[in-house]
Protein backbone atom coordinates (compact mmCIF):
# COMPACT_ATOMS: atom_id res chain seq x y z
CA UNK A 1 0.00 0.00 0.00
CA UNK A 2 1.14 3.55 -0.64
CA UNK A 3 1.93 5.52 2.48
CA UNK A 4 1.93 9.25 2.93
CA UNK A 5 4.77 11.14 4.59
CA UNK A 6 2.41 11.88 7.45
CA UNK A 7 1.77 8.21 8.12
CA UNK A 8 5.50 7.52 8.03
CA UNK A 9 6.28 10.45 10.32
CA UNK A 10 3.74 9.19 12.85
CA UNK A 11 4.80 5.54 12.68
CA UNK A 12 8.51 6.31 13.01
CA UNK A 13 8.03 9.21 15.41
CA UNK A 14 9.89 11.61 13.12
CA UNK A 15 10.31 15.28 13.88
CA UNK A 16 8.86 17.02 10.84
CA UNK A 17 10.32 20.35 9.79
CA UNK A 18 7.87 21.36 7.12
CA UNK A 19 4.47 22.75 6.29
CA UNK A 20 1.74 20.37 7.36
CA UNK A 21 0.17 20.13 3.87
CA UNK A 22 3.37 18.80 2.31
CA UNK A 23 3.09 15.72 4.53
CA UNK A 24 0.15 14.57 2.43
CA UNK A 25 2.63 13.56 -0.27
CA UNK A 26 2.58 9.93 -1.29
CA UNK A 27 5.78 7.93 -0.89
CA UNK A 28 6.46 5.78 -3.94
CA UNK A 29 9.54 4.09 -2.49
CA UNK A 30 12.85 4.91 -0.87
CA UNK A 31 16.51 5.54 -1.42
CA UNK A 32 19.34 5.68 1.12
CA UNK A 33 22.70 7.32 0.53
CA UNK A 34 25.15 9.95 1.74
CA UNK A 35 27.10 10.52 -1.46
CA UNK A 36 24.94 13.12 -3.16
CA UNK A 37 26.40 12.33 -6.57
CA UNK A 38 25.10 8.79 -6.16
CA UNK A 39 21.67 10.01 -5.10
CA UNK A 40 21.54 12.28 -8.15
CA UNK A 41 22.36 9.29 -10.32
CA UNK A 42 20.07 6.71 -8.77
CA UNK A 43 17.20 8.04 -6.68
CA UNK A 44 13.74 7.96 -8.27
CA UNK A 45 10.83 10.37 -8.41
CA UNK A 46 8.52 10.29 -5.42
CA UNK A 47 10.91 8.34 -3.22
CA UNK A 48 11.76 9.30 0.33
CA UNK A 49 15.51 9.76 0.83
CA UNK A 50 17.29 8.64 3.98
CA UNK A 51 20.63 10.35 4.64
CA UNK A 52 22.93 11.69 7.32
CA UNK A 53 23.89 14.72 5.23
CA UNK A 54 22.46 18.03 6.42
CA UNK A 55 24.09 20.42 3.94
CA UNK A 56 21.82 22.69 1.87
CA UNK A 57 22.73 20.70 -1.23
CA UNK A 58 20.46 17.87 -0.05
CA UNK A 59 17.46 20.11 -0.80
CA UNK A 60 18.73 20.88 -4.30
CA UNK A 61 19.24 17.18 -4.96
CA UNK A 62 15.80 16.24 -3.60
CA UNK A 63 14.25 18.97 -5.68
CA UNK A 64 16.10 17.99 -8.87
CA UNK A 65 15.10 14.34 -8.45
CA UNK A 66 11.53 15.22 -7.39
CA UNK A 67 11.85 13.21 -4.19
CA UNK A 68 8.92 13.46 -1.81
CA UNK A 69 11.00 14.23 1.26
CA UNK A 70 14.20 13.68 3.22
CA UNK A 71 14.66 11.72 6.44
CA UNK A 72 17.79 12.87 8.27
CA UNK A 73 19.18 10.20 10.60
CA UNK A 74 21.00 10.16 13.94
CA UNK A 75 19.08 13.22 15.07
CA UNK A 76 21.44 15.47 13.15
CA UNK A 77 20.39 19.10 12.94
CA UNK A 78 20.07 20.62 9.45
CA UNK A 79 22.01 23.82 8.87
CA UNK A 80 20.16 27.17 8.77
CA UNK A 81 20.68 27.38 5.02
CA UNK A 82 19.22 23.92 4.58
CA UNK A 83 16.08 24.84 6.52
CA UNK A 84 15.59 28.01 4.47
CA UNK A 85 16.12 26.24 1.18
CA UNK A 86 13.79 23.39 2.17
CA UNK A 87 11.07 25.90 2.92
CA UNK A 88 11.61 27.71 -0.39
CA UNK A 89 11.65 24.52 -2.43
CA UNK A 90 8.85 22.78 -0.53
CA UNK A 91 10.99 19.82 0.47
CA UNK A 92 9.83 18.24 3.74
CA UNK A 93 12.63 17.46 6.20
CA UNK A 94 12.02 14.74 8.78
CA UNK A 95 14.48 13.92 11.51
CA UNK A 96 14.90 10.52 13.17
CA UNK A 97 17.14 9.63 16.10
CA UNK A 98 17.72 6.22 14.50
CA UNK A 99 20.45 5.08 12.11
CA UNK A 100 19.93 4.74 8.38
CA UNK A 101 19.64 0.97 8.69
CA UNK A 102 16.98 1.14 11.37
CA UNK A 103 14.96 3.77 9.52
CA UNK A 104 15.06 1.73 6.32
CA UNK A 105 13.99 -1.45 8.12
CA UNK A 106 11.03 0.29 9.71
CA UNK A 107 9.99 1.82 6.40
CA UNK A 108 10.10 -1.60 4.80
CA UNK A 109 7.96 -3.02 7.57
CA UNK A 110 5.46 -0.24 6.88
CA UNK A 111 5.28 -1.38 3.29
CA UNK A 112 7.42 1.35 1.70
CA UNK A 113 9.04 -0.66 -1.10
CA UNK A 114 10.38 0.07 -4.54
CA UNK A 115 8.71 -1.58 -7.50
CA UNK A 116 10.05 -4.67 -9.20
CA UNK A 117 13.28 -4.14 -11.08
CA UNK A 118 14.19 -0.95 -9.25
Amino acid sequence: MTRTLKEIAEALNLAAITREDLLARKVTGGYAGDLLSDVLAHAGKGQVWITLQTHANVVAVASAKELCGIIIVHGRTPEEGTLRKAEDEHIPLLVSPLSTYDVVCRLYQLGVKNGEGV
Binding site: D34, L35, L36, S37, V39, L40, Q53, T54, H55, A56, N57, A60, V61, E79, G81
Partner: protein, 240 residues
Protein backbone atom coordinates in the same frame (compact mmCIF):
# COMPACT_ATOMS: atom_id res chain seq x y z
CA UNK B 1 58.37 36.68 -13.23
CA UNK B 2 59.67 33.19 -12.71
CA UNK B 3 58.21 29.71 -12.87
CA UNK B 4 57.95 27.69 -9.68
CA UNK B 5 57.05 24.03 -9.67
CA UNK B 6 54.80 23.22 -6.71
CA UNK B 7 53.26 20.10 -5.21
CA UNK B 8 50.90 21.46 -2.59
CA UNK B 9 49.42 18.24 -1.26
CA UNK B 10 51.88 15.87 0.39
CA UNK B 11 51.21 13.70 3.44
CA UNK B 12 53.79 12.78 6.07
CA UNK B 13 54.06 9.85 8.48
CA UNK B 14 51.60 11.73 10.69
CA UNK B 15 48.76 10.61 8.43
CA UNK B 16 47.77 7.09 9.49
CA UNK B 17 47.31 6.07 5.87
CA UNK B 18 50.76 7.33 4.75
CA UNK B 19 53.94 5.27 4.68
CA UNK B 20 56.28 5.59 7.64
CA UNK B 21 59.03 6.44 5.14
CA UNK B 22 57.23 9.77 4.57
CA UNK B 23 59.64 11.46 6.95
CA UNK B 24 60.65 15.12 6.66
CA UNK B 25 64.11 14.45 5.24
CA UNK B 26 62.89 11.84 2.79
CA UNK B 27 60.15 14.14 1.56
CA UNK B 28 62.53 17.06 1.10
CA UNK B 29 65.15 15.02 -0.74
CA UNK B 30 62.49 13.45 -2.97
CA UNK B 31 61.06 16.91 -3.68
CA UNK B 32 64.50 18.15 -4.61
CA UNK B 33 65.09 15.15 -6.86
CA UNK B 34 61.78 15.86 -8.61
CA UNK B 35 62.67 19.52 -9.13
CA UNK B 36 59.98 20.96 -6.84
CA UNK B 37 60.56 24.46 -5.49
CA UNK B 38 57.42 24.63 -3.36
CA UNK B 39 55.82 21.84 -1.32
CA UNK B 40 52.60 21.89 0.68
CA UNK B 41 52.40 19.59 3.69
CA UNK B 42 48.81 18.51 4.25
CA UNK B 43 48.21 15.70 6.69
CA UNK B 44 44.68 14.71 7.63
CA UNK B 45 43.28 17.19 10.15
CA UNK B 46 46.69 17.90 11.67
CA UNK B 47 49.90 19.81 11.05
CA UNK B 48 52.38 18.66 13.68
CA UNK B 49 55.06 17.56 11.20
CA UNK B 50 55.13 20.85 9.29
CA UNK B 51 57.94 22.43 11.39
CA UNK B 52 60.24 19.42 10.90
CA UNK B 53 59.74 19.43 7.12
CA UNK B 54 60.19 23.19 7.02
CA UNK B 55 63.53 23.11 8.86
CA UNK B 56 64.86 20.50 6.44
CA UNK B 57 63.52 22.25 3.37
CA UNK B 58 65.06 25.62 4.19
CA UNK B 59 68.54 24.10 3.78
CA UNK B 60 67.61 22.95 0.29
CA UNK B 61 66.02 26.23 -0.71
CA UNK B 62 62.57 24.67 -0.96
CA UNK B 63 59.58 26.62 0.31
CA UNK B 64 57.22 24.70 2.59
CA UNK B 65 53.63 25.83 2.84
CA UNK B 66 52.18 24.39 6.00
CA UNK B 67 48.64 23.22 5.95
CA UNK B 68 46.34 20.30 6.43
CA UNK B 69 43.66 18.36 4.61
CA UNK B 70 40.59 18.97 6.71
CA UNK B 71 37.56 16.69 6.60
CA UNK B 72 34.36 18.72 6.85
CA UNK B 73 31.17 17.52 8.50
CA UNK B 74 29.92 16.43 5.05
CA UNK B 75 33.14 14.38 4.66
CA UNK B 76 34.48 16.73 2.01
CA UNK B 77 38.27 17.14 1.96
CA UNK B 78 39.51 20.74 1.90
CA UNK B 79 43.16 21.73 1.73
CA UNK B 80 43.93 24.60 4.10
CA UNK B 81 47.28 26.27 3.42
CA UNK B 82 48.80 29.00 5.59
CA UNK B 83 51.61 31.52 5.33
CA UNK B 84 52.66 31.31 8.96
CA UNK B 85 53.05 28.51 11.45
CA UNK B 86 51.42 30.61 14.12
CA UNK B 87 48.20 30.88 12.14
CA UNK B 88 48.45 27.25 11.05
CA UNK B 89 48.59 26.04 14.64
CA UNK B 90 45.86 28.40 15.80
CA UNK B 91 43.72 26.96 13.03
CA UNK B 92 44.70 23.44 14.08
CA UNK B 93 43.47 24.24 17.59
CA UNK B 94 40.00 24.96 16.24
CA UNK B 95 40.05 21.87 14.03
CA UNK B 96 41.02 19.66 16.97
CA UNK B 97 38.26 21.08 19.17
CA UNK B 98 35.87 19.85 16.48
CA UNK B 99 37.47 16.47 15.81
CA UNK B 100 36.35 13.68 18.08
CA UNK B 101 37.51 10.14 18.70
CA UNK B 102 40.79 8.41 19.42
CA UNK B 103 43.05 6.69 16.90
CA UNK B 104 43.44 2.92 16.96
CA UNK B 105 46.97 2.38 15.63
CA UNK B 106 46.42 -1.30 14.93
CA UNK B 107 43.45 -0.64 12.71
CA UNK B 108 44.20 2.69 11.08
CA UNK B 109 47.96 3.09 11.33
CA UNK B 110 50.45 5.05 13.40
CA UNK B 111 50.37 8.85 13.56
CA UNK B 112 54.01 9.67 14.08
CA UNK B 113 55.23 13.13 15.08
CA UNK B 114 58.93 13.72 14.40
CA UNK B 115 61.45 16.50 14.87
CA UNK B 116 63.84 17.90 12.28
CA UNK B 117 66.37 15.18 13.11
CA UNK B 118 63.64 12.64 12.40
CA UNK B 119 63.50 11.49 15.99
CA UNK B 120 60.06 10.35 17.04
CA UNK B 121 58.79 12.90 19.53
CA UNK B 122 55.29 11.59 19.90
CA UNK B 123 52.16 10.07 18.45
CA UNK B 124 48.95 11.92 17.79
CA UNK B 125 46.10 10.13 19.53
CA UNK B 126 43.42 12.09 17.63
CA UNK B 127 41.26 10.17 15.19
CA UNK B 128 42.83 11.97 12.24
CA UNK B 129 40.96 9.94 9.63
CA UNK B 130 37.67 11.06 11.14
CA UNK B 131 35.44 13.92 10.08
CA UNK B 132 35.28 17.20 12.00
CA UNK B 133 31.88 18.60 12.83
CA UNK B 134 32.68 21.83 10.98
CA UNK B 135 30.33 22.47 8.07
CA UNK B 136 31.89 23.11 4.68
CA UNK B 137 30.85 26.77 4.58
CA UNK B 138 32.12 27.40 8.10
CA UNK B 139 35.37 25.62 7.31
CA UNK B 140 36.10 27.77 4.26
CA UNK B 141 35.29 30.92 6.26
CA UNK B 142 37.50 29.74 9.12
CA UNK B 143 40.45 29.13 6.78
CA UNK B 144 40.02 32.66 5.45
CA UNK B 145 39.79 34.09 8.97
CA UNK B 146 43.27 32.65 9.52
CA UNK B 147 44.35 34.16 6.17
CA UNK B 148 44.77 30.76 4.54
CA UNK B 149 43.93 29.35 1.13
CA UNK B 150 40.95 26.99 0.89
CA UNK B 151 41.24 24.50 -1.94
CA UNK B 152 38.75 21.70 -2.57
CA UNK B 153 40.85 18.52 -2.74
CA UNK B 154 40.64 15.97 -5.56
CA UNK B 155 37.33 17.25 -6.90
CA UNK B 156 37.40 14.58 -9.61
CA UNK B 157 37.34 11.75 -7.08
CA UNK B 158 34.05 10.41 -5.81
CA UNK B 159 35.09 9.63 -2.26
CA UNK B 160 35.73 12.76 -0.14
CA UNK B 161 35.66 15.02 -3.22
CA UNK B 162 33.25 17.94 -2.98
CA UNK B 163 31.23 16.92 -6.05
CA UNK B 164 31.06 13.27 -5.11
CA UNK B 165 29.94 14.06 -1.57
CA UNK B 166 27.61 16.97 -2.31
CA UNK B 167 26.56 16.41 -5.91
CA UNK B 168 27.80 19.83 -7.00
CA UNK B 169 29.80 22.74 -5.62
CA UNK B 170 27.45 24.78 -3.41
CA UNK B 171 26.55 28.28 -4.56
CA UNK B 172 28.47 31.03 -2.88
CA UNK B 173 31.27 28.86 -1.48
CA UNK B 174 34.41 31.00 -1.53
CA UNK B 175 36.98 28.44 -2.57
CA UNK B 176 40.36 29.70 -3.79
CA UNK B 177 40.92 26.79 -6.19
CA UNK B 178 39.94 23.24 -7.08
CA UNK B 179 42.51 20.45 -6.97
CA UNK B 180 42.38 17.74 -9.61
CA UNK B 181 43.78 14.25 -9.06
CA UNK B 182 43.79 13.83 -12.83
CA UNK B 183 44.45 17.10 -14.70
CA UNK B 184 43.12 15.63 -17.95
CA UNK B 185 39.65 15.74 -16.37
CA UNK B 186 39.56 19.53 -16.06
CA UNK B 187 37.02 19.97 -18.84
CA UNK B 188 34.70 17.42 -17.30
CA UNK B 189 34.23 19.22 -13.99
CA UNK B 190 30.78 20.83 -13.89
CA UNK B 191 31.06 24.53 -12.90
CA UNK B 192 34.83 24.07 -13.33
CA UNK B 193 35.31 27.31 -15.22
CA UNK B 194 34.49 29.29 -12.11
CA UNK B 195 37.60 28.43 -10.11
CA UNK B 196 41.28 28.06 -10.95
CA UNK B 197 42.63 24.51 -10.99
CA UNK B 198 45.72 23.11 -9.37
CA UNK B 199 46.94 19.54 -9.42
CA UNK B 200 49.11 17.85 -6.85
CA UNK B 201 50.36 14.42 -5.90
CA UNK B 202 48.35 13.65 -2.73
CA UNK B 203 51.47 11.60 -2.00
CA UNK B 204 51.15 8.97 0.72
CA UNK B 205 54.31 7.15 -0.45
CA UNK B 206 57.71 8.60 -1.20
CA UNK B 207 57.87 7.88 -4.91
CA UNK B 208 54.52 9.67 -5.34
CA UNK B 209 55.96 13.05 -4.28
CA UNK B 210 55.87 15.34 -7.32
CA UNK B 211 54.08 12.83 -9.56
CA UNK B 212 51.74 15.73 -10.32
CA UNK B 213 52.56 19.39 -9.85
CA UNK B 214 51.33 22.88 -10.59
CA UNK B 215 53.53 25.54 -12.14
CA UNK B 216 53.09 29.05 -10.79
CA UNK B 217 54.43 31.98 -12.79
CA UNK B 218 55.09 34.60 -10.12
CA UNK B 219 57.55 37.09 -8.65
CA UNK B 220 58.73 35.00 -5.71
CA UNK B 221 57.90 31.80 -3.88
CA UNK B 222 55.46 32.64 -1.11
CA UNK B 223 51.80 32.10 -0.35
CA UNK B 224 50.82 35.70 -1.12
CA UNK B 225 52.22 35.30 -4.64
CA UNK B 226 50.42 31.96 -5.05
CA UNK B 227 47.18 33.63 -4.01
CA UNK B 228 47.74 36.26 -6.70
CA UNK B 229 48.57 33.57 -9.27
CA UNK B 230 45.22 31.93 -8.55
CA UNK B 231 43.53 35.24 -9.36
CA UNK B 232 45.86 35.86 -12.37
CA UNK B 233 46.96 39.23 -10.97
CA UNK B 234 49.07 41.10 -13.53
CA UNK B 235 51.11 38.58 -15.50
CA UNK B 236 50.91 35.85 -12.88
CA UNK B 237 49.61 32.51 -14.10
CA UNK B 238 48.83 29.02 -12.86
CA UNK B 239 49.47 26.05 -15.11
CA UNK B 240 48.59 22.39 -14.56
Amino acid sequence: MKEFKADLHIHTCLSPCADLEMSPRNIVSEAKRKGLQVIGICDHNSAENVPAVEKNAVREGILVIGGMEVTSKEEVHILALFGSEERLFSFQGTVHENLHGTNDEKRYGEQVIVNEEEEVIGFSDKLLIGATDITLERLVDLIHEFEGLAIAAHVDREGFGIIGQLGFIPEGLHLDALELADPSKRDRIPQGGRWPFITSSDAHQLQEVGRRSTTFLMEAANIAEIRQCLSSVDERRTRI
